[in-house]
């Protein structure tokens, strides 16, 4: 009797957890439904050169201090929270991932250039651990920019705030006043972001990351040595070319770069709402019953 109760609780918990482990295909469908964005093919490898070429001819609206105005609420229609940042053939099981197209534009094979041990760890991650984001932990960078629903960019001259709606409560303050990064002692979920303008492109360098999050639902990871350099460039009034280059000599064999479009929410008066996450989270218990464990961060070879 007691055994069957435990079993039904475990099954119910697994039912709750399943959509997170095998969410329905969104990225694959989205790129099928949206072959073009801002006049460019939506697949990252093709969007990347096309959008940058278009951006050269575009003159963005400007803030009073003359810098490009990136303010607004931005959706990531093709990234969809990152199921998988690499090519994925699709999972035929019911409710399984559909095919995903890699957002990685460099290396050209669209795969994370892991050191050999790290590729093995990534495979272990999806078998063993819970995606930290599914436990309502912060996204880290660059997943903040790919996350489900929207993020709002606000520019004050000496800082740029990037505030997300989904995922509980996630934000970054990008310092634009020329200050130096924090001491390496600090390890933060969202890192320490310092920005500057390179022509019409906002460049953000983020360090002091804690390496405890994943890039996607499929176990792709970094360490606390990661440096992310993001470049945000308006392609037209309502489209951003988003690029992030990852350097982490403890995990990758070489730097690598992802690209995807961000699209402006044009609905007048659109407001980001509150999404509590941890406050109502009952999924973590399901994952644990399903045999998954909280992700402890990378395990380096001895």
């Amino acid at each position: 009797m007691r055994g069957s109760l435990v079993r039904s609780i475990a099954l119910a918990a697994l039912a709750v957890a399943l959509p997170f482990i095998w969410p329905p295909s969104l990225a694959g469908q989205a790129s099928k439904n949206r072959p073009m964005i801002a006049g460019c093919p939506s697949v990252s490898a093709k969007f990347h050169p096309c959008a940058l070429e278009k951006a050269k001819a575009f003159s963005p609206s400007r803030m009073p201090d003359g810098t490009p105005n990136l303010q607004g609420i931005w959706d990531a229609p093709l990234a969809m929270g990152f199921q998988n940042i690499e090519d994925f053939p699709g999972d035929p099981r019911p409710g399984g991932f559909g095919p995903a197209v890699s957002v990685i534009v460099d290396p050209p094979d669209g795969r994370v250039p892991y050191q050999p041990w790290a590729r093995t760890q990534r495979d272990e991650n999806i078998k063993t651990y819970i995606d930290p984001y599914a436990q309502c932990l912060p996204t880290g960078v660059p997943r903040q920019m790919a996350n489900f629903r929207t993020r709002q960019i606000t520019q004050l001259g000496n800082l740029i705030a990037i505030v997300n709606e989904a995922g509980g409560h996630i934000f970054r303050v990008v310092h634009m006043d020329g200050r130096a990064h924090l001491s390496p002692t600090f390890k933060l979920w969202m890192g320490d972001s310092i920005g500057h303008w390179d022509g019409n492109t906002l460049v953000i360098e983020t360090t002091n990351l804690n390496g405890r999050w994943w890039y996607d639902s499929m176990g792709h990871f970094a360490s606390d040595a990661l440096k992310v350099t993001e470049r945000l460039t308006l392609v037209d009034a309502d489209t951003l070319h988003y690029q992030a280059t990852m350097e982490d000599p403890k995990v990758y064999a070489r730097p690598w770069t992802m690209v995807f479009p961000l699209e402006r929410i044009k609905e007048k008066g659109y407001e980001q709402m509150e999404e509590a996450c941890h406050e109502g989270d009952h999924d973590a218990a399901g994952f644990v019953l399903g045999g998954f464990r909280p992700y402890p961060g990378p395990r380096f070879p001895q």
């Binding site: 705030a161 409560h169 996630i170 934000f171 600090f186 969202m190 407001e271 509590a276 941890h278 406050e279």
Partner: protein, 243 residues
């Protein structure tokens, strides 16, 4: 011709504008935004022990003494709510939602022992809290969302009354407390906040609390928010439930 007319117009307008700012605004010498409002942008923190207990309290082991922030020091609970508050106090070590790392609610977010950052634009004032990446969006000059929501941080709508930012907050759930001493509210909570810069680095902060299910009359708390002026100061993280 056109250019010289513009120049004359500028000369005529500038003194009037300066005068209007000086006379109408009351507090002079404040940094102002492009639309002439006091600029609250910056990083702020209280220097009080309100998060331990809103009311006058003596020290205990691990708890600093504090002069209360409630006007008159009395919180006018109904008899039933007073009994609930007493039981909350007795169970505070585990019952306080802060111990579960939940979103802190309003006004408690503003007097947690962590800094928070105000990002002010004309249409929206965003408050970013070091505690658990809590976010508040205060939308300026728009009505509350229709229907009742049950949000941890409520629905915040702001307006300027002279140089004071007034924020009307509704649509709360009943799951947050005001402090670690068990002071609480229901989902009928209505908070009206007043933010007034009294000099460039201090905000006089007042919150009027109304909740007919819990209190017999509205009551008010007041405190000072202090600007962080340390060089290169920035928000860090207290990702409460990651520990």
């Amino acid at each position: 011709m056109r250019r010289s007319l513009f120049a004359i117009a500028s000369i005529a307008v500038v003194p009037v504008f300066v005068f209007a700012q000086g006379a109408g605004a009351g507090q002079t010498g404040l940094h102002r935004t492009a639309d002439g409002k006091p600029d609250l942008s910056g990083i702020w923190q209280v220097m009080n022990n309100a998060n331990w207990n809103l009311q006058d309290h003596n020290a205990e082991k691990g708890v600093p003494a504090g002069q209360g922030v409630v006007d008159g020091n009395e919180i006018p609970y109904t008899p039933a709510a007073a009994a609930k508050k007493k039981s909350n106090y007795e169970n505070r070590a585990t019952a306080d939602p802060e111990t579960k790392c939940y979103l802190p609610g309003v006004p408690r977010a503003n007097y947690l022992p962590f800094p928070f950052q105000i990002v002010q634009t004309a249409g929206q004032i965003t408050m970013l809290y070091e505690y658990a990446h809590t976010v508040r969006n205060i939308f300026m000059g728009t009505p509350h969302i229709e229907g009742q929501l049950f949000w941890w941080m409520g629905d915040s709508r702001g307006r300027w009354e002279g140089d004071t930012l007034v924020v009307d907050v509704t649509d709360f759930n009943d799951e947050t407390w005001f402090d670690r001493a068990g002071n609480f509210h229901s989902d009928q909570l209505h908070v009206v906040e007043h933010y007034t810069l009294i000099d460039p680095d201090h905000i006089n902060y007042e919150a009027t609390i109304e909740d007919p299910k819990t209190f017999t009359r509205p009551w008010k708390m007041s405190m000072i928010l202090n600007r962080h002026k340390e060089k290169n100061f920035r928000l860090l993280e207290y990702e409460c439930f990651s520990f």
